[in-house]
């Protein structure tokens, strides 16, 4: 206890006169903690909002969802519940076309049909307000004030409420008409708030809401239509939640209904958020680690400068433990201060994050500093600081008191003996293990933490090796004598005691991640855009009848701008029943294989081999098929997952028809999914006779003609669903953009941490730099020349870091895209170039800023001090 008191007092005294290095220590920790606190805090804020508004976000106490129409048994159970005083609402959601009847423009919308009384909780707010409230409002959720424009009740017959984005897309205003399926609707108002639509912008299109009664008249729910049905429940007695859940699950078993209640607070969103938080926490941990490297560096330099003080303390009677404690306390104090600063920054980030994440989440947030998150930030900051200073602090043991006695007596200074190597390796292992545990804690998963640390350790080793190699190469560069500044600058990079490799490592990590994410994002986008090669379809129309499909072909053939028009494919929907007569339970399948039995497949039939496919096994059918035989061609992946061979018998239950058993006669590999092939099951003609089918029509349309063609289709086939590939790409790319931006934002902190390390190592070599600058000046160099020499040194460091980062991130992007995701990778020079140049500019800028006082030093003043 007494020795702790001494260490505490002594630590405070030592810190009185600590200067800039403390600042770097603080910043290095603060940056890492900030990212973490920002992300965790944001997550906490969203979670608490989800929890707070749980009922509102579900618009009910309980909900059962299914992706097929409810059956007799389920409906009967709901009627039974109604007699117990439980209110029930049927909500149907589907994707469909909405058409401007005047201009014939159309767009994909997310159509929602509601029943009177929706929502049970929360508010449906419209503009103009309240116009649609034609029945007595239901009781608002406890504690919710009813806002202006809030509507519960009924959407009048023939009226549609729409999202503002629909009006923009179709050039309509409130009061205009809108065609849904075969029916015209009057736009009654804009939906400004819909309680149970949280992840609004992940959708495929704008919202359109009509009454359940009207939906039936649109003709949209015909054969092959996909819709989600849910029943919202309001329970008068909240104590029976469990019993009702069980009852519902049982009643909707045939439809595989999913029951959830408000206590789960949006399980999908929560899961998404948790995943994202775990992932981003790990990304932010990278900046914490870079910061940790900075802390280790600062501490090492600090201890180096304190060798005399340490030796003197030992001379006047201090034990190793005491001296170490003095410095450990300093590390802890700085770590606490740095973490506190980081928590403050992190709070600021929380304020910014919603803007970065943007409208991906439509929840009202109250951003505050959650004490749990702050504590987590503090702990992680402290632990990181301690783990990264283990090795420099352990070095205190090596300082011999004889050091101050007579210099010649002590040659131990700064050298490692064999024993200390063993110790360093042991401490490194402890630090690595500790960091892996922190990572696991942050990610909430053990395996993630260890994989992450393992991967990162590998990446750091790779970067370190590359950095050391690059510095060696720089040493080899022989420049002509006339490039004086460049020669000197390069010489500075590899002079003895240079921290070049460490700086390149620190900067390189950030560059690698930010550039890597950018390349991946662009690569994925390219994969989708680049590769609609000429001839492949860009317009898809689904849900046509056989007659309509023929009409489609005739109409479009006459339409200018249509480049190619493959025959429409019939689509029949079906589920797997058995393979070789064995049901799912009797087969030995992987988890994925078992899941495939729950899917509803789109199957087709064809006489000719689908485009963009090659036969891997067997042969495509030609000529006539033996009477009584049913043949099917299976996609390679399906064959693998389901263990299908040539000759296997596949039994499927087709929607609206009898079960079909067909023999696998060939296995097919799809070479390009965008060509519209990619059916897992292609039957031979005749195999699906008597099974009702809709038709999928495809066309390649010149972009200039796209609008006219879409209008034509919308007016002729109002119940069909049209998908324009470009619209989808816009949605996908905007979501991808957002996600990539968030990752870059968080990863950007590691660059910041790298710059702090750069600055701190420049400041730690200030004495040497000042001497250099003065010597140059004394030897006749102008201020500008000295400036150039330093700028050259920093530019070289930045260039090497940028290059190393670029090489690694390009390799990583190639590996991920080509090897893991198995899509093509095209090298793009521009982002890589921007990355490298950006790194150079930042490095020079921060470097020069850290050297300003050195540049200002007057020769005489410095030389006299010697």
């Amino acid at each position: 206890m007494k020795s702790l008191k001494f260490a505490w007092r002594q630590a405070l005294r030592e810190m009185r006169r600590g200067r800039s290095r403390f600042l770097f220590f603080l910043l290095a920790i603060a940056i890492g903690v900030a990212g973490l606190v920002g992300i965790k805090g944001f997550n906490a804020a969203v979670q608490s909002a989800l929890l707070r508004e749980a009922r509102t976000l579900m618009a009910a106490d309980m909900k059962v969802q299914m992706n097929r129409p409810p059956g007799e048994q389920g409906l009967a159970h709901l009627d039974e519940l109604k007699t117990q005083g439980i209110a029930v609402l049927h909500v149907t959601e589907t994707t469909s076309m909405a058409i401007n009847p005047t201009s014939k423009d159309s767009t994909l919308v997310e159509l929602k049909a509601i029943e009177p009384g929706y929502p049970f909780y929360g508010e449906l707010i419209t503009d103009p307000p309240g116009a649609l409230s034609t029945m007595a409002p239901t009781v608002p959720a406890p504690g919710t004030a009813r806002a202006a424009g809030a509507t519960t009740g009924q959407i009048p017959a023939g009226t549609a409420l729409v999202g503002a984005d629909l009006l923009d897309r179709l050039g309509l205003t409130v009061g205009d008409q809108l065609k849904l399926g075969t029916q015209l609707f009057k736009i009654g108002g804009i939906i400004t708030q819909e309680p149970d639509r949280v992840a609004a912008n992940f959708g495929l299109g704008p919202r359109v809401m009509i009454s359940q009664a009207d939906l039936a008249t649109t003709g949209l729910m015909g054969l092959g239509a996909r819709a989600n049905h849910s029943f919202l429940l309001k329970l008068p007695d909240q104590t029976k939640v469990e019993a009702i859940r069980t009852g519902l699950t049982e009643a909707f078993k045939p439809e595989k209904g999913r029951v959830s209640d408000f206590r789960e607070a949006q399980p999908q969103i929560k899961r998404f958020l948790d995943r994202m938080t775990a992932f981003l926490s790990l990304v932010s941990m990278i900046s914490l680690l870079v910061g940790g490297l900075g802390v280790a560096n600062v501490t090492r330099v600090f201890i180096q400068q304190k060798l005399d003080s340490i030796a003197i303390m030992k001379c006047v009677g201090a034990t190793n433990q005491r001296v170490t404690l003095v410095y450990l306390i300093q590390v802890l104090l700085l770590a606490v201060a740095g973490s506190a600063l980081g928590i403050l920054f992190g709070w600021g980030i929380q304020l910014v994050l919603p803007a970065v994440i943007g409208p991906l989440l439509d929840v009202e947030l109250t951003v505050g500093l959650s004490p749990v998150v702050a504590l987590q930030g503090l702990l992680v900051g402290l632990l990181t600081a301690v783990l990264f200073t283990l090795i420099p602090l352990a070095g205190i043991r090596d300082v011999k008191p004889a050091l101050v006695f007579r210099r010649e007596m002590a040659d131990q200074k700064g050298r490692l003996s064999a024993g200390t190597w063993g110790r360093e390796v042991a401490l490194l292992a402890v630090a690595g293990l500790g960091l892996a545990l922190i990572a696991s804690w942050l990610a909430g998963r053990f395996d993630w933490g260890f994989w992450f640390m393992g991967g990162l350790a590998g990446a750091i080793l790779l970067l370190w090796g590359a950095a050391a190699l690059a510095v060696r190469i720089v040493r080899r560069i022989k420049l002509p004598r006339r490039f004086v500044s460049m020669r000197q600058g390069l010489a500075n990079v590899h002079r003895p005691g240079s921290q070049a490799a460490a700086i390149v490592l620190a900067l390189g990590i950030g560059v690698t991640i930010v550039l890597g994410v950018t390349l991946l994002q662009r690569g994925l986008l390219q994969e989708v855009t680049l590769t609609s090669p000429a001839g492949t379809p860009n317009l898809f129309v689904m849900g046509l009848s056989e007659a309509e499909s023929k009409q489609f072909t005739t109409s479009l053939r006459a339409q200018p701008g249509v480049e190619s028009l493959p025959d429409p494919s019939p689509i029949a929907r079906g589920k797997l029943l058995a393979i070789d007569g064995k049901k799912k339970e009797e087969l030995t399948l992987s988890d994925e294989g078992e899941r495939w039995f729950n899917f509803t497949f789109n199957a087709t039939w064809a006489a000719t081999q689908p485009p963009s496919s090659e036969i891997v096994q067997g042969a495509w059918w030609t000529g006539s098929i033996p009477a009584g035989e049913k043949w099917v061609s299976v996609e390679q992946e399906a064959a693998q997952v389901l263990n299908l061979q040539i000759g296997s018998l596949v039994q499927m239950e087709m929607e609206g028809g009898a079960p079909v058993t067909a023999k696998v006669v060939n296995i097919r590999k799809t070479t390009d999914f965008r060509a519209g092939g990619g059916f897992n099951f292609v039957f031979a003609p005749g195999a699906l006779d008597g099974v009702p089918a809709t038709y999928l029509a495809q066309a390649r349309v010149q972009s200039a003609a796209s609008r006219d063609v879409q209008r034509l289709i919308a007016s002729q086939f109002p119940t069909a669903m049209m998908i324009n590939l470009n619209d989808i790409l816009t949605t996908v790319s905007s979501v991808l953009d957002r996600i990539a931006m968030v990752i870059r934002f968080v990863a950007g902190f590691s660059i910041l941490a790298g710059l702090v390390i750069l600055s701190s190592s420049i400041v730690s070599t200030k004495y040497r730099r000042t001497r250099d600058a003065v010597l140059y000046k004394t030897l006749g160099a102008s201020r500008k020349r000295v400036w150039q020499i330093f700028a050259m040194e920093y530019a070289t460091l930045g260039l090497v870091a940028g290059l190393v980062g670029a090489i690694i991130s390009v390799t990583a992007a190639w590996v991920v895209l080509k090897q893991v995701m198995e899509v093509s990778y095209h090298f793009e020079a521009l982002p890589v170039l921007i990355g490298i140049i950006g790194t150079v500019v930042l490095t020079v800028l921060v470097g020069i800023l850290s050297t300003l006082d050195v540049l200002a030093a007057k020769p005489l003043q410095v030389l006299r001090e010697e």
């Binding site: 003080s309 003197i312 001379c315 009677g317 034990t319 190793n320 101050v404 006695f405 007579r406």
Partner: protein
């Protein structure tokens, strides 16, 4: 007080082995002022370093107050120094981040006697004539002043043995003179055993006894009556 038997120190220097100290025997009674003199390279500083426990001898024994120190661990030696040995260095070796007063108080704090430390430190600074400079940092003091603070620090824990290594080596003659007088005066007042290394014959002449070292061997020993002041 101090008994040295067969003390030997060899150092490896590249391929060959240097014998810095050939076996040395020496006894210093309590309260004596002993000067160790000799040209540079004679081994005198090595001897002092060994006495302070800053380095381990190759062979031989050192007993301080009957305690054998050659087998002690680094930390045990540190504790021993804190309790029994004061050291004055040629280059002062004050801790730059501590004020004069704090530098003097440091050994007492390390002995876990922080309560009386400031008062004792002030008393010692008064004794070396720097009572009003306690709040100054080492860089704000002249060389002589720094050495006086170092003297005060060396006496802070009332050590029974004081080791001084060229205490005047970095000072001009007049200042050096003042430091020596102070050293001897404190020594008398506190009854400390004093071993000082010097190559300054004037300083050597003030000791009770002088041993001359050359090439690691005691070549001459002089004993004189101290002039009573």
């Amino acid at each position: 007080m101090l008994t040295i038997k067969g003390l030997t120190k060899r150092l490896k220097s590249g391929e060959r082995e240097l014998e810095i100290l050939k076996p040395i025997d020496l006894t210093v009674p309590a309260g004596e002022v002993l000067a160790i003199m000799g040209p540079s390279g004679s081994g005198k500083s090595t001897l002092l370093g060994l006495l302070a426990g800053l380095d381990a001898p190759t062979a031989g024994s050192i007993q301080i107050d009957g305690v054998e120190i050659t087998g002690l661990s680094e930390d045990q030696l540190a504790l021993l120094r804190g309790q029994k040995i004061g050291i004055v260095f040629q280059s002062f070796n004050l801790i730059p981040n501590l004020t004069a007063l704090e530098n003097v108080a440091l050994p007492l704090e390390l002995l876990d006697q922080p309560e009386g430390a400031p008062a004792r430190a002030k008393e010692l600074l008064d004794a070396v004539g720097l009572g009003n400079r306690g709040h100054h940092y080492p860089v704000q003091l002249s060389g002589g002043e720094q050495q006086r603070v170092a003297l005060a620090r060396a006496f802070a824990s009332r050590p029974s043995l004081l080791l001084a290594d060229e205490p005047t080596g970095n000072l001009d003659t007049a200042t050096g003179q003042a430091i020596i007088e102070l050293l001897l005066q404190l020594n008398r007042e506190q009854g400390t055993t004093l071993v000082l290394v010097t190559h300054d014959p004037e300083l050597g002449a003030l000791a009770d006894r002088t041993v001359h070292l050359r090439d690691g061997v005691i070549v001459k020993e002089e004993r004189r009556e101290r002039v009573a002041k």
